[in-house]
Symmetry: C2
Subunit: 139 residues, 2 copies
DNA sequence: GCCTTTATTTAGAATTATTCTTATTAATGC
DNA sequence: GCATTAATAAGAATAATTCTAAATAAAGGC
């Protein structure tokens, strides 16, 4: 758990804004996500967090992931019916899932694509969140 | 189960191409999806199918949905961790989910948006399927 | 710094959509 | 029409996630 000062205050500020406390467990989970940005599942995050904090429970990992998501610090990513994955990349991006390797990469999106999507909505419909999941192969 | 001739042969041809049989249950499930295009869940499809075919089982509904999806006749739609929903609209489209009403509508996409998305992938990455889920509110 | 209040964590039970298993039933090809 | 093979039915099993209740830890007032 070597959360650098920048991320530590990012975490504290965001939690405080939501009226939540900055706890060691929330710090640990956030740190796991920042350390290796490979879109881990709750189980994988639990395994990694336990290396440094053996007493943390799976339920707490789920709780932390929920509060971090609600505070806008991380993002939950779903692929079909697979376990939810998490990423700390908050820029608007899509996800590419390689069927062969299981690798998941972030695809940066320019503002143009997003506004075209919003423009495709019928009048009176306002987009709040756009999830784009692309799957295929890489070589 | 009043599957018109056009859809009946569409179903039979698609199943035959996949080496599968056209059964009453598969016809029934397909018909339920065509009758009311409101993106029902497996449970809802089960309830509707039972009105006309009381002996159908939930497991069969799941099996039929899987074979219809694999045969390319219907599409599975996922919103976050919610139960999978199904739709018979095979044109490339996104889904809009209204948080207030739960309503789900299809958003037609022009080829332009899709090719821009494909162009955003790094070299060597090929898109096979693109899922776009937009949520927000309507008024 | 200590005490109270309130939030958070823990551990394990509960939930729920979905899949699996096995016996039964129904299509298909001859 | 009969044998073969696929599909269905019913219920058990699975797995990710959520819930529950008791224990613990932060935060603010004194």
């Amino acid at each position: 758990m070597q959360l650098n000062a920048e991320y530590k205050s990012l975490l504290e500020d965001a939690l405080e804004r939501s009226g939540l406390r900055a706890t060691k467990q929330r710090e640990q989970v956030f740190s796991v996500l920042l350390d290796k940005r490979d879109h881990p599942t709750a189980d994988e995050i639990y395994a990694r967090a336990r290396c440094e904090m053996p007493s943390i429970s799976l339920a707490t990992v789920y709780n932390c992931l929920e509060t971090l998501t609600e505070s806008g610090l991380i993002r939950a990513v779903n692929f079909e019916r697979e376990p939810t994955r998490y990423c700390p990349n908050l820029t608007q991006h899509a996800h590419f899932y390689c069927k062969a390797t299981g690798e998941i990469i972030d695809i940066d999106l320019n503002e143009n694509i997003l506004s075209e999507l919003k423009a495709a909505l019928p009048p009176g419909y306002r987009a709040e969140h756009i999830e784009i999941a692309i799957n295929g192969h890489s070589n």
